[in-house]
Structures are given as C-alpha cells and as structure tokens.
C-alpha cells in the first residue's frame, strides 16, 4: 500500500512538513479569526518543482488543497477544509528576474509585496499595489485576493500589474497564462485567475509590472468635526479634477485608540481625519495640494497639516498605519469588514454603520480607503462573549447588505473567503453564480482547490461550504 504521507515527506523533506499539532495551530486561521480549524497536513515546498510534485501527489490522493501565503487574509480564505492539505508557499522567496528596461519582474509567490518594491527601488521603480500588510503579505496571496491598498486609487490594484502567471491546477499540471508582451489575443484568462482566491489553482510565480516612483509627494492631514464632513470632502477632492494617490479616513474611535496606545495627539474636537496624498512631478504638485486644501476647507476642515519632509510624511502616515495595532486598547477582539459603496454614498453609509453599532450594542471604528469608497468598519468584541460574537456577525451582514443596496460590493479587497459566502446570492443571481461555478470546474472539476470559498457551490443556491465556518450568522466551526 502506498503511504502518501511518506511520499509527501520525500518531496518536501522532513523540514518541509509540519507535523507537530501545536505548530499546525499557526495555520488554523488567517487574519479572520472568527472561524478556525487546525489542518491535518501542512507542507512548505521550497521549490516550484516541489509544488508541482506535491500537487500531483494530492491529485492522486484526492486531498483537498488550501493554498496559503503569509496568512494575512481577512476573510478566512485559508481556512482548512476537513482532510485538506495546506500548501504554504512562503519558501518560494526568489525574485528570479528584475528587468528595469522593460519595467518588469519575475517574482515567486512567497516573496513579500514590499520586497519587490525594495528590489526595484535602485532603478527608480516600484510595485504599485500596496496592501497594508505589504511588509509580510506575499505576491501569491495578493494575486489570489487581487489586493489593493491605500495607494491604489491612482495606480490600480493587483490585476492591473500582473502580466503573466504560472498556474498549477488541481491535477498537478502547470501552465503559463498571459504574456510579458501586451495585447495577447483571446480571453483574458490571467485576469480571471487574479482574485479567484486560490480556487482555480496555485500560482507559483508571476511577471509583474513595475512603475516609476513618483519624484514628488505632498501629504496632507485634514481634521473635520465628524465623518459626515470628511466623507463629503472625498467627492469634493475628486470633483476638483485631480486623482490623489491616496485618500484615507479615520474616525473618532480610531483616534481615541491611537491616543491610548501610542499617545498620538490630534487636533482638539477632531471627529474625523482625512489623510490625502498627491504625487507626481515637482512642478504642479503645489497646485494639486492646494486643490485638496480648498476642497477640504469647503467641506468643513478646521485644521490642515501638510508634510514638507519625508519625516513629516511618515509622521502623518503613522496614525493610519498604526490604527489596527491600536485597537487592542479598545477591545479584546475585532472583526474588519470590507464593503464598498459609491464614493458619494459614504456619508449615508457611515451614518448607517453607526446606527448598526448602536442597535447591536457594539462599538464600531472606521479607518478606510475613502477615495475608493472601500469601507473597513471594525467591529469590536470579546470572543469569550458568545452574545457579542453573534452581534458582530449579524451587524456585519447588515452592513454588507446595505452596501449592496447602495450600489456597492461585499468586498473591495479582502475577498469573499468563507466569511461572506452566504451573502453571494445577494450580490449575484443564481445564473451568474452558476456560470462562475462552471468556470471553476474547468480548472478544478472536483472542486478540490480551496473548496468552500469565494463561490457558492451547487449552482447558486447556497448549500453549505465544505463543512467550513458559518452557513448563516452564527458559529458552526469544528474547533
């Protein structure tokens, strides 16, 4: 009889397999901690060839596959299905080629996002998508989630920067999709794979596009009496005819947490801060900054600070970058949502979020990509209190459903994962979901790739998700 586990170890070596149950607990969840499950098998292949061999073995064994990067996802996209093999690609850490003349790089899936930009910086280039987790989150994970970030308002998200990728499908076959050269004819299959949350295959490496680092930047921090005024300023800025590099909003609970955690000081009576960055050539950048200042003042900003040096800029960004870390001062646990609304609906949506928080008896803080209309309401709770957990789940569903009612989306950058699967039938018709499921089965006929995530199985009617997580708000997780 074939011992598949022994074969697995032969491929990845003894240090490429995680046997210790305590160590496997590291892989029980990602950044979304409401649902957890310790996987039975975890491997860390060190080469692309090993990845292919592991996938072929899993195909023979019939194991479900869960791809994983750094585990920074926020929608439970790496939650392990029963019997699944978790394949963590964090050892694929090579930037194989850096081609500054063509402004491209060939990067393995386990390379951290920020490492690409660091490698390209000597050539005056960088990799534009910059999720907040960029110092650790991997290119493979970013491709699976079509990650964005604070600076993607102007430069686009991951799909705008991936030229070609190598995909290993559930049968162990590998193929290159896309091209380093633009305009390849036929359907854009590369674009389909980006953002498919690991359900179509495992991306081992990709050619990405690099773009010039803007020579000049102006960063502004505007204080408003409340979120209503700050969110109205977002539309006013865009109406002025410029596209800022970033527009980020922080509300009063976030400022409170930042003060408690890091003693950061903010203007007195500030109910919201808007962090706005414009970039480009030195010439003209003052005009852009002035447009932003004028728009903010028209909408009620009572104090505007502007960075004139890199140190100033880092200081102004500090509040935004430390926001999530500060939340531990306010609550034991938090759940971050990721809905999107048209930018003009931000004031209405923020009022609704506050109302939902009051109804549920939970605190909600907001720090988000206002320029994209991409909300991140952070629901604060204590996981030991089942009543609070239930309230958070129900409040999350209400918020996301309202995003849909306002013409928005369930998720701007975190993905559907297991977290929002039950809401997919609110966003898409049964026929549309069935079409997505048929597309999925072209790549993975037996639905072994990250099953129970992203797309409801069974042709649109939600029929459970491979024994994972919640079916409706509530906890049904085998811990």
């Amino acid at each position: 009889m074939i011992d598949l586990d022994r074969d697995l170890e032969r491929i990845v070596g003894p240090d490429g397999i995680v046997r210790d149950p305590r160590l496997r607990m590291v892989y029980e969840c990602d950044g979304y901690t409401l649902d957890r499950r310790v996987p039975e098998r975890v491997v860390l292949p060190a080469t692309i060839d090993d990845v292919k061999r592991v996938m072929q073995l899993a195909h023979e064994a019939g194991w479900p596959i869960v791809p994983r990067g750094a585990g920074t996802g926020l929608a439970g996209g790496t939650l392990a299905a029963p019997g699944a093999l978790v394949i963590a690609l964090t050892r694929l850490r090579a930037i194989e080629t850096l081609d500054p003349l063509n402004r491209q790089a060939l990067v393995q899936a386990g390379v951290a996002n920020l490492a690409i930009s660091k490698a390209a910086l000597p050539y005056g280039l960088h990799y534009a998508p910059d999720p907040s987790s960029q110092s650790v989150s991997t290119l493979g994970g970013n491709i699976a989630g079509n990650s964005g970030g604070p600076h993607t308002l102007k430069t686009g998200v991951t799909t705008n920067h991936v030229l070609a990728l190598e995909l290993v499908t559930s049968d162990g076959a590998s193929r290159w999709l896309g091209s380093r050269a633009p305009g390849l004819p036929g359907p854009d299959v590369t674009g389909l794979v980006v953002g498919s949350e690991g359900t179509l295959g495992l991306v081992t490496r990709a050619w990405v596009r690099l773009v010039p680092v803007p020579p000049a930047t102006r960063t502004l921090l505007a204080a408003f009496p409340g979120v209503d005024e700050a969110s109205r300023a977002v539309s006013a800025i865009l109406r002025s005819g410029i596209v800022p590099a970033a527009v980020e909003l922080m509300d009063a609970p976030i400022l409170e947490a930042l003060h408690a955690a890091f003693k950061l000081e903010f203007p007195q009576n500030a109910g919201a801060l808007l962090l706005v960055e414009v970039d480009g050539l030195e010439e003209g950048i003052e005009e852009d900054a002035q447009h932003v200042i004028d728009a903010c003042r028209q909408c009620g900003a009572f104090e505007i600070e502007r960075a004139t040096t890199d140190a100033d800029r880092r200081r102004l960004w500090m509040a935004r970058k430390k926001a999530f870390g500060a939340l531990g001062r306010l609550a034991r646990n938090y759940c971050t949502q990721d809905g999107v609304v048209p930018r003009t609906k931000l004031p209405e949506m923020l009022r609704f979020i506050a109302e939902v928080g009051r109804d549920a008896g939970i605190r909600v803080a907001n720090v988000f990509h206002a320029g994209d209309g991409n909300l991140h309401p952070i629901l604060l709770y204590d996981e030991r209190n089942e009543h609070e957990v239930q309230a958070v789940l129900e409040a999350s569903a209400r918020i996301l459903e309202r995003c849909l009612e306002l013409g928005g989306s369930l998720t701007g950058e975190h993905g559907i994962g297991v977290e929002k699967l039950a809401l997919m039938d609110r966003a898409f018709s049964a026929e549309s979901i069935a079409a997505m499921d048929r597309v999925r089965r072209v790549f993975d006929p037996n639905r072994r790739m990250n099953s129970g995530k992203a797309i409801p199985e069974g042709g649109g009617c939600f029929d459970g998700n491979a024994g994972l997580g919640r079916v409706r708000p509530g906890r049904e997780v085998p811990l």
Binding site: L177, P185, G186, N374, I416, S429, M436, R438
Partner: protein
C-alpha cells in the same frame, strides 16, 4: 457575406433577450457592434446570424462624482466620450474613435490604441458587465464601484473573446478627469539610445506616450505629455533637451492631431493591419518591416502596422518577434476574416475550449475565432 447569413437588430435589451431565447434555426449568433472589427479573428466554424446591438446604446448612469459610467453596450465610443466630456472626464482608450465603433465591440475585440502604452487597455477600466447567455438570460460579473473583488472577474474573460462567450449588453467603467493640456516633442530618425534614455535616465519625464512611428513622412519619435499646463510645459522643456536641437514641438491641438492620426492607423480601413506586442526594450531598435505606416508604443510594447500583403515579410516579422517575446496578428480590412490571422496558437487551447463550454454550453454563439481553435 457568405459567413453571415443575416442580421438581427433588437430595438431594446428586452427584445434582445426574447430573440436570444427563441429559435434561430440552429444558426449560431455572432454579436456585432459597429462592425468595424468583424475582420478580427479567424473565420468562424459555421455560418452565423449577426446579433446587432447598435440600437441598444443608452447611458444608464454617469455617476460623475464617483468617476464611473454605466452604459448599454451598443453605445458608440464617440458618443460615450462626448457624454463624459460634458463633465470634464474621459475614458482614456481613444481620442478619435471610428464613429461606428461600439463599447461592446471594443471590449469583445480588446481593441487597443497607442494610448494603451500609458493608460492601459479596456480591461483596466471595466468594472463590471452584464451579458446574455444563449437563452437570453442576463448574467453579471463585477459591479459599479471602483474596487470590487466579489466573485470571479468574468468580464476579463469576455475581454478579447470576440463574442464567443455571449453578447455583452451592459458595461460599467471607471473614468478619469480629462487632461487639461497636451503637448509633444518629436524628432526624426533617432537612434535606439534616445528612447532608452527617455525611459531610464530621465526620471522627471512621465510621458503619456512614447512612440516610434512612420505615418508617411519618415520615421519619428514622439514624447507626448498630458496633464496640467504646468506639468506639460515642464516636461516639454526637458524632452527638448533630451531630443536635441532638431526636435519639433507640438501644442495641444497638434498633439491631439498626431494621436488621432496614430489611432487611425490602428484601424483596418484601406488595408489589413498587423498588430501585436513585444518587450518594449526590444522594440526600441527593431523594425517590424511589414508595411509603410506603423506605430510602436515603447512604454508597454504595443505595435500596429499596415500590412501590404507580403506574406514573406509577415513570416519574417513573426519570426523576428520571438526574440522580443512578441506576437503579431492581422485584422482584415474587409468583413471577411482571414484564414490564419493569428500566426500563433494559444498553448491553453484545451483550457479555452473548456471556458467556451462553461459559458456557452449549448453552443449558441459563434465558434472558431480564437487562436486556440
């Protein structure tokens, strides 16, 4: 035309759905917009009925404060740009579109112009679509907001699918504020080091176009700028230094005329057009050599050229392009597709066939136009 047996032109999307849901005698449908790129792709396997959406061209919503627009797919690119211009916005895919060219056709053909070097192609602006399947049911992917990762990006599959996966009936785009000013610096017959210096050694240049071209007056290089007057003027000054004393400058009007002329060269009007892509660095010093009028985008590596019918020149160009990881294809100048326009076969033929079966399981839409077949 022998391969198009007839044309149906529904007056509304409701009627379109009814027609598609009915019996068309077993013929396959071929979605048709303005008919400007019917000569793209291989000859369909079977005769088809054209499904003409040109009467379904409403602007559904221009959310100008959100920088998005939703339209029925039969709207012309020219009409859409006119609507956007009323609020100082544009879709940066075209300056001077063929008046017949529709949005649905633009997506289905993944039509590109020299603007793609800086601004990207239709896939970069397409936020969501609705399409009708073979039974006339409306399906959707994406949405109407600028950031959205819910569900598969099936609009990407429809991009470049030449109508094989269904008829696109609605599209939402993100749009941009129009540049206030344009300007260009051009120079005759530069050596290959000049565009390289423009890319490498001049970090203070962010060109909206870096093109080698010949539109009948000899080879030239153009550095094109767009944006605020301050920024355009600053970059024009730097570009003049880079390109030397023989360089010419163009103002906004002149630059837009040049862009329009180059864009016109991408259309198969009076002759076939060879188009494709290669590594931009490789294109800085190579000549395509298939026709007299041509344009090469050195920012991303697109190219277009008239093809005068010389098969051996075409074969040489395709062979040479391999060194630049490139590919070259042909658009016919008539509505009659060429026998082998691709000169290249997708390695993912089986995958593409599977996707065709997944989205058009009853084979109600045209087949055989992709390089995979």
């Amino acid at each position: 035309m022998s391969w198009i047996q007839g044309t149906v032109t529904p007056a509304s999307l409701t009627e379109a759905s009814q027609v598609l849901g009915g019996d068309n005698g077993g013929l396959q449908w071929m979605p048709r917009g303005g008919g400007t790129l019917l000569g793209r792709g291989a000859r369909p396997r079977e005769p088809v009925f054209a499904f003409d959406l040109s009467k379904c061209g409403r602007v559904i919503e221009h959310a100008y404060d959100d920088l998005t627009v939703t339209v029925e797919a039969g709207i012309s690119m020219a009409s859409l740009q006119h609507t956007l211009a009323e609020h100082g916005q544009w879709l940066p895919l075209s300056i001077h579109p063929d008046p017949r060219s529709t949005i649905g056709g633009w997506i289905a053909a993944d039509k590109r112009t020299p603007l793609a070097g800086n601004w990207g192609s239709v896939r970069d602006y397409l936020l969501g679509i609705a399409w009708m399947d073979g039974r006339g049911r409306t399906l959707r992917a994406g949405g109407r907001v600028v950031k959205n990762v819910a569900g598969y990006d099936l609009m990407k599959l429809h991009t470049g699918a030449l109508g094989e996966l269904g008829v696109i009936v609605e599209a939402t785009f993100k749009v941009l504020p129009s540049p206030a000013e344009w300007g260009a610096v051009t120079v005759a017959s530069p050596d290959a080091t000049v565009p390289r210096r423009a890319l490498e050694g001049a970090p203070q240049l962010f060109p909206a176009g870096l093109w080698r071209y010949d539109i009948g007056y000899g080879e030239r290089l153009a550095l094109v700028f767009a944006g605020s007057r301050t920024r355009v003027n600053a970059q024009m000054n730097r570009a003049q230094v880079l390109l030397g004393s023989t360089a010419d400058t163009l103002d906004s009007t002149g630059t837009l005329s040049l862009v329009a002329e180059l864009e016109r060269g991408t259309r198969p009007e009076s002759s076939c057009v060879a188009w494709g892509g290669a590594l931009p660095e490789w294109l800085t010093g190579e000549r395509l050599g298939v026709g007299s009028h041509w344009c090469v985008d050195l920012l991303r590596g697109h190219f277009w050229s008239r093809w005068d019918g010389d098969e051996s020149a075409l074969a040489r160009a395709r062979s040479a392009l391999r060194a630049g990881e490139g590919h070259m294809h042909l658009d016919a100048c008539s509505d009659e597709p060429l026998v082998n326009p691709w000169g290249w076969r997708s390695e993912g033929a089986e995958l593409l066939s599977g996707l065709k079966r997944a989205l058009d399981p009853e084979r109600r839409y045209v087949e055989g136009r992709w390089p995979a077949h």
